[in-house]
Symmetry: C2
Subunit: 335 residues, 2 copies
DNA sequence: TTGTAGGCGTTATCAC
DNA sequence: GTGATAACGCCTACAA
């Protein structure tokens, strides 16, 4: 028979004092006598008192809860970003509500609605692949809940977004390829409506220009990151009369597919075709033939930075926030 | 200037009716006139009304929230279990609070405390490696919040736990090894205080017995699943005068370390030493030399089953629950 | 130093 | 069919 959790009322009754005294005593309020405080604290412990957060949230109109929405936790980039975010949040005594939109716009809207209903104090989000309308997030902002983007942001929307410095990283990758004598360097990009894809492209382009190499349209492909389309993109490249000798890839998970496709369908080009992706997945350390390199991102730091910024916004709701793009450096990591 | 979320009070005022009418209308209460209902609904939409869950949770003494605590979301077994759990929960209009204990007992206690304070309605947990005391969970149970274990359970504790049928799986693995003419079959197990380790061992033992092979103590090792200790366990096996030709492993993540150690430190035995782990990680499909096989678990189904059971317990709090061990079959999967 | 009272948004009970 | 009211647990001005 589960006994109901005890409340400050129970403590008050037991000590024949008022609830407000109990409340103050529990919060170390200055004008509560030492003896009273002592008695309250010990009775609280004795009754196994645990503050009822549902009541506190309700009363305070504040839940000390942050939401984070990611496409999927199977992608370690996001899992680690969640870790960084939680670290900062829990240091500030905030709880984190995690949601996976599973790349579905519908699911994302539901998650946002649930979180809004649960009155989260702020949201960090990497939008789904399908998301082409930000009304659900605007509604959040309008009700006073700050929204911060990370990793993905539609090109035409003006919002603050934290991500990796993928532009610089792409340039570095091209430099490395060139230094290894590659001249036909291909690029498989992600969805073109994200800033992070555009920036990768610009870095790739500027890297080629800087090295006086031509921009060849045939060498540039786009994938929605699904395995079939990753394969399709690679096949198109390898079936060119003159296939590339090096490929820059939007992401390590895309690179995994590309490696497997290359090995099984184009063995003559494997492992000679050199690859660089984004992410630096630790699992490559288990590979016999790891790719040439990866642009190591800093998901933990991105999550942590996002957490601090969001908390800052929450603590200073009046302060005007001008949208900005924040980016953390990537590090070209050879395997 | 963020305008506060509107409440049923606002709707009531705007229509000059009472809050109770509004509340009933919003809930499709039978004795509300069609016209009134219509007006309420449309005003609600117009005011962008979103029910305040903090108030509802408080009022109902129920949060429609389930907690799930896992060691880490970097392990896809747990990530997928979370997915199954969430699927069932969200179908029943429950929200899920996810926590990672990061294999720390301290962190686990904090998580449980936060969740208890947030008045979750039930908890599913895979305890940390360090957890050797279940008082924090007993306290939950005592306050009426059901606790369900999965994947890991201390041997001496009587609780309901959902996991894979690892016993049967181990026997199957031994059979496969034997059919491939292996006679010296080693086993690297996980922490011995978990039932899931004991059961793996029993399956391994009975598999050997069934095939009339001796139980050789030297061929059995234990690791706490950390990379250094995974390496250590393998080295001890391979440095035996007569190393094993096949190894059964507690988990695929352990197998990854073992494969890498084998390849780099004992190349003469790689890839001839055949390996079978638990998990069937999809990433093996990207390996040039995948292991022999893996015992494919069903994390999604485990999470889903756990969700249904927990919801059942919540819906029937009076009903007595007798502790039981529930296990879902593994499937021996060749790569 | 301690106590009283009002209120946060919602639902349920009971009256009309 | 609709409305008034109490209650959930906690906090906080204000009163004593």
């Amino acid at each position: 028979m589960p006994n109901k959790p005890s409340t400050i009322k129970d403590i008050a009754k037991m000590l024949n004092i008022s609830v407000s005294t109990v409340s103050k005593a529990l919060h170390n309020h200055p004008n509560i006598g030492a003896i009273t405080k002592e008695r309250v604290l010990s009775t609280a412990k004795q009754l196994n008192y645990i503050p009822n957060k549902t009541a506190i949230h309700f009363k305070q109109q504040k839940t000390f809860t942050l939401g984070i929405i990611v496409p999927t936790l199977l992608d370690h980039f996001y899992t680690i970003a969640v870790d960084g975010f939680e670290k900062v949040a829990s240091n500030a005594k905030y709880t984190v509500l995690i949601g996976q939109n599973q790349e579905s716009f519908q699911r994302e809207k539901e998650l946002v609605s649930v979180m809004q209903s649960n009155r989260i104090d702020g949201l960090l989000i990497a939008i789904s692949k399908e998301t082409d309308n930000l009304d659900h997030l605007r509604r959040l902002e309008q009700s006073g809940i700050p929204v911060l983007f990370f990793a993905r942001k539609p090109i035409n929307e003006v919002y603050t977004c934290i991500s990796s410095d993928v532009y610089r990283a792409a340039k570095d990758a091209v430099d490395l390829f060139v230094s290894r004598n590659h001249r036909r360097i291909a690029f498989i990009n992600g969805p073109s409506h994200w800033t992070t894809s555009r920036d990768r492209y610009l870095g790739y382009r500027d890297g080629l220009l800087k090295n006086k190499l031509p921009i060849v349209k045939d060498l540039i492909r786009e994938s929605d990151l699904s395995t079939p389309n990753n394969y399709k993109a690679l096949r198109e490249l390898m079936q060119l009369p003159n296939p590339p000798s090096a490929i820059l890839l939007f992401k390590d998970y895309l690179m995994l597919d590309v490696m497997t496709c290359l090995r099984t369908e184009f063995p003559a080009y494997y492992p000679s075709t050199e690859l660089i992706g984004y992410g630096a997945l630790p699992l490559f350390s288990h590979f016999e033939h790891p790719p040439l390199a990866s642009l190591k991102e800093q998901p933990f730091e991105i999550g942590a930075k996002a957490g601090s910024l969001l908390l800052e916004w929450i603590d200073h709701p009046q302060q005007e926030r001008k949208p900005q793009l924040i980016s953390l450096p990537c590090k070209l990591t050879l395997f």
